[in-house]
């Protein structure tokens, strides 16, 4: 097997394993790269090389060797609970906690024979857009170590972009898969709400949270998505529908014929009159990608979704409100940290001290904001109003999808910004999610696929589709990926990764 396994796609690793390669070789190559570079990169919170190699050896010795995803390493965002493996959600309040069970996503990947490399860094409880809100460490962008890797799944994006995992699981509440994928040159997909089980994801905002794939190619993302998707009786919001056929859609898309497809460019997400905060380089790269889709046969239309202008305001009321309720479970009683239990203090006081020491500033801000938005006297003006705006956003999607097959926009208004630039300004940090929030609020699927560089940093192209039409996201993304790769004549960032 090539020594260059850390710059292969997962699909290439799969072929190498089917051709007689061993999971131990592949896993060791990734562990070596982690040992050599993660001290500086900061992608992982927990790696257990011995456990990973033992697991790889078990797969190599078993009957599934060389089939399906068996033996391919994977990294999981630390919000996914893993039996016996430390899980913190990026928070001090869960430091040292070993969950007694596996999340459905983790269990399905285990059943598929994948090898867990480790748990990746994240903004505490998935609240953030730069991974700087992690209680443990700063994660750097492999493209430029002084830039953010995106967030909240920034450990997963840095690991995959830096050659420290072939692919990874992220979670997306308002853009936390798509935005980190965009700023590190990866493919990241937020599935239709309810199509991937939330059982065992440490909850942030339950009406929005979804797990999904982060990968180096559209086909890899589709394969990983198929492995985790589908109905789960343990999640009451899980949709009882078959796993959509995604890899096949990606392969069809890569053939490059989009005739008959209508693409809607969303005016409110970076169009004329809606460019405050958008970088020219992002707008240019996005525009060139739209033109490329037209060249592949797609019909392009501009579409207006006026309620999208209010998505950021609605999201930053709904998500903190749900979070203030969800995070009540961290009370120092059943798991995690307990502070101040000296025999004299009462329960309430111990809870307050535990939460004071266990939570970081952004989590506290959101709990306070959510408590405010839900309190009597403000409920109707804030939370109630935000839920009605959510309805308007869903209606805009429905109206648009009556005319077009997919909607497109830049994934983020800017390329990766410098570490530290927005950490003291929550409103500026929230603006990183401007383009990803509407799909989250409406529960529709959306993918980010690389569409070029601006100032040497990756730009992401977002494709949104109607609920349960995730296959369309993969089809269009694969068509764009194949066309841009052919235009360039190289493997883009995979070549760079191999050279690093």
């Amino acid at each position: 097997m090539s020594t260059d396994v850390t710059s292969m796609t997962a699909t290439e690793i799969q072929a190498a394993l089917a051709d007689g390669g061993t999971s131990v070789e592949v896993t060791r190559a990734y562990l070596d790269r982690i040992a050599a570079t993660d001290g500086e990169l900061g992608a992982y919170l927990h790696v257990d090389p011995e456990a990973a190699l033992a697991r790889a050896a078990e797969i190599d010795a078993g009957s599934t060797r060389g089939t399906g995803l068996a033996g391919i390493p994977v990294a999981l965002k630390d919000v996914v609970v893993t039996e016996g493996v430390p899980t913190t959600s990026g928070s001090k309040i869960l430091e040292g906690w070993k969950p007694p069970y596996d999340a459905t996503v983790a269990a399905r990947l285990k059943a598929a024979g994948t090898v867990l490399l480790g748990k990746t860094n994240m903004d505490e409880f998935a609240m953030g857009s730069s991974t700087e809100n992690s209680a443990y460490r700063i994660t750097h962008n492999p493209w430029n170590p002084e830039r953010i890797p995106g967030g909240s799944s920034g450990g997963s994006s840095a690991a995959v972009a830096g050659g420290l995992a072939p692919w990874a699981i992220g979670t997306d509440t308002g853009g936390s898969i798509r935005q980190p994928a965009a700023v590190t040159g990866l493919v990241g997909h937020k599935p239709t709400y309810g199509s991937v089980s939330r059982y065992g994801l440490i909850a942030f905002s339950s009406s929005l949270d979804q797990a999904g794939p982060m990968a180096r190619t559209v086909l890899d993302a589709a394969l990983l998505h198929e492995a985790i998707g589908g109905h789960d009786p343990l999640d009451s919001t899980s949709i009882d529908a078959p796993v959509p056929v995604l890899a096949e859609s990606a392969r069809r898309g890569a053939q490059g014929d989009l005739s008959g497809l209508t693409v809607g460019v969303v005016r409110e997400l970076g169009g004329e009159g809606h460019r405050d905060g958008y970088e020219d380089g992002v707008i240019d790269s996005f525009g060139a990608a739209v033109a490329r889709l037209e060249k592949l046969g797609a019909e392009i239309r501009e579409v207006s979704c006026p309620a999208f202008d209010l998505a950021l305001a609605a999201y930053y009321l709904i998500a903190p409100s749900e979070a203030s309720s969800n995070l009540a479970r961290f009370d120092g009683v059943r798991y995690g940290l307990r502070v101040g239990d000296d025999g004299a203090r009462e329960l309430d006081e111990v809870m307050a001290l535990t939460r004071e020491q266990g939570f970081g500033p952004e989590v506290k801000r959101r709990i306070i904001l959510g408590t405010y938005a839900l309190s009597s006297g403000y409920y109707e003006a804030y939370y109630g109003q935000a839920q009605k705006v959510r309805t308007l956003i869903s209606r805009d999607f429905s109206a648009a999808f009556a005319d077009v097959d997919v909607l497109v926009s830049p994934t983020t208004p800017t390329v990766a910004f410098p570490l530290g630039a927005r950490v003291d300004n929550p409103v500026a940090m929230y603006a990183a999610d401007l383009c990803t929030l509407p799909a989250s609020l409406a529960g529709v699927p959306a993918i980010s696929v690389p569409c070029g560089l601006s100032e040497g940093l990756p730009v992401g192209f977002q494709i949104m589709a109607p609920a349960l039409a995730d296959d369309r996201c993969y089809q269009v993304a694969a068509a764009l990926e194949a066309a841009l790769t052919a235009d360039r004549g190289d493997r883009g960032f995979l070549d760079q990764l191999a050279a690093r």
């Binding site: 309620a307 950021l312 305001a313 529709v444």
Partner: protein, 99 residues
């Protein structure tokens, strides 16, 4: 400009069982005022006769057969607890002692 006074932040923190420091109160009051300004934009929408959305996909109650299944072993669950005693979670006292 929306305002959120230091006292209001302290009250909300108490409701949420957060023992915030003086420095945090000063910091959060300013930052949350800016956030409230941004989120108050929702008030611009005309929402007469618009129903609220609580979930993006239609939800119905999910029923299943009432079958007895094994639960997690008690020892395994208590292993993650900050304090346990006699097979139970040990918690700080919740009642004042009798005078």
């Amino acid at each position: 400009m929306s305002t959120l006074s230091r006292d209001e932040v302290a009250h909300l923190a108490h409701l949420a069982r957060l023992a915030v420091t003086d420095e945090e109160l000063d910091l959060f009051a300013g930052q949350l005022a800016a956030v409230l300004d941004a989120v108050a934009q929702v008030g611009k929408a005309s929402v007469e006769d618009v129903p609220p959305t609580t979930h993006a996909v239609p939800m119905t109650n999910v029923m299943r057969e009432d079958v007895i299944r094994p639960s997690l072993p008690r020892d395994v669950v208590l292993a993650g607890a900050p304090a346990a005693e006699d097979g139970r979670f040990r918690v700080p006292r919740i009642l004042q002692e009798e005078a």
